[in-house]
């Protein structure tokens, strides 16, 4: 009888342990209504198979491709939903809340919560840590005319993720440096050029 006790215990506890393990994959709503209203929408679903396939088509000699290859090496999934609208407040707060509510699950920690009065943009960054290793990242960005959700799954190296800055034509912010914007004026993205006198 005793020899059956351990396997039975494992069989009973297995599903419970699996359920208890943190799951960094968010259930991404399809937002069919938003996709119709949006002037531009981005829906990206990259599972491990597609990520590894993409990795094979990234050129190691190209700096951008090499950086991307390095970033996606430990990832198991990238899911993006982004909608851009022609008018303000085309999306409801409940659309965001459907995703945000999942981030109250155990394992998720809010890393950054920002609100810009100037751009009226809110960006929340959540991270899931398991055994001192970041295993998931969720980003919710809501702007008056744009709404973006990003969910990255896998062994995320925050240093590598930080290297995303300056890539893809996005200006590098030099966060860790002591330079202030006053010392080195930086042109605002999307701002109009100064009028010619």
């Amino acid at each position: 009888m005793r020899k059956y006790t351990m396997p039975m215990l494992l069989a009973l506890l297995g599903p419970a342990l699996a359920w208890a393990a943190p799951n960094p994959k968010l259930v991404m709503p399809e937002f069919p209504g938003l996709a119709q209203k949006a002037s531009e929408s981005v829906t990206i679903t990259l599972d491990p198979t597609l990520l590894s396939m993409a990795g094979r088509f990234l050129d190691g000699n190209d700096p951008q491709d090499a950086a991307t290859k390095e970033i996606i090496k430990g990832l198991r999934g990238i899911y993006v939903r982004s909608y851009t609208f022609d008018k303000d407040t085309e999306y409801a707060q409940s659309d965001i809340d459907a995703v945000r509510s999942q981030l109250s699950a155990p394992g998720w920690n809010r890393l950054v919560e920002t609100h810009s009065r100037k751009t009226r943009a809110n960006v929340d960054i959540y991270i899931m840590i398991d055994h001192d290793q970041a295993v998931g990242l969720a980003l919710i960005a809501s702007e008056p005319r744009q709404f973006t959700i990003v969910n990255i799954i896998g062994a995320i190296d925050l240093d590598k993720l930080h290297k995303l800055e300056g890539q893809f034509g996005v200006p590098k912010l030099d966060i860790d440096e002591s330079k202030t914007p006053a010392q080195e004026p930086r042109k605002e993205r999307g701002s109009a050029p100064p009028p010619k006198s």
Partner: protein, 121 residues
């Protein structure tokens, strides 16, 4: 008397080799009449064999070509999917990067404004 009859019959029924003329005529008739020729034991007549060979070769060539085209198309499909996946990865990271920068920009501007306020305190 019986012996005479027997020897007479033996001499009358002795094996006689056919004449050369008979053999020649027989072979000539066989050559002229196709039905008289011995039947082929193969699946098809001898005359159809080159055609069958060509058909088999063409069929094999078609099969090889079809497999080759299928593999080429499969390769193309794979390449297309790979390039599409690559494009999606780059786009996903671009979006992530933009939003991370938005957050970092907000954090930075907040810390800058705090630093600006400090000397005045």
């Amino acid at each position: 008397m019986n012996q005479d009859i027997e020897s007479g019959m033996r001499s009358a029924l002795r094996p006689v080799a056919p004449s050369d003329e008979f053999s020649r005529k027989l072979l000539a008739r066989v050559a002229a009449d196709p039905q008289a020729r011995p039947k082929s034991y193969g699946l098809m007549p001898r005359s159809a064999r080159p055609l069958a060979w060509w058909l088999a070769t063409s069929l094999a060539a078609c099969l090889v070509l079809a497999v080759g085209i299928e593999r080429h198309l499969e390769q193309q499909r794979l390449q297309q999917s790979g390039l599409e996946a690559r494009r999606e990865v780059l786009q996903a990271l671009r979006v992530t990067s933009q939003k991370l920068n938005l957050a970092f920009e907000a954090v930075k501007s907040q810390s800058t404004s705090l630093a600006d306020e400090k000397p005045g305190l």
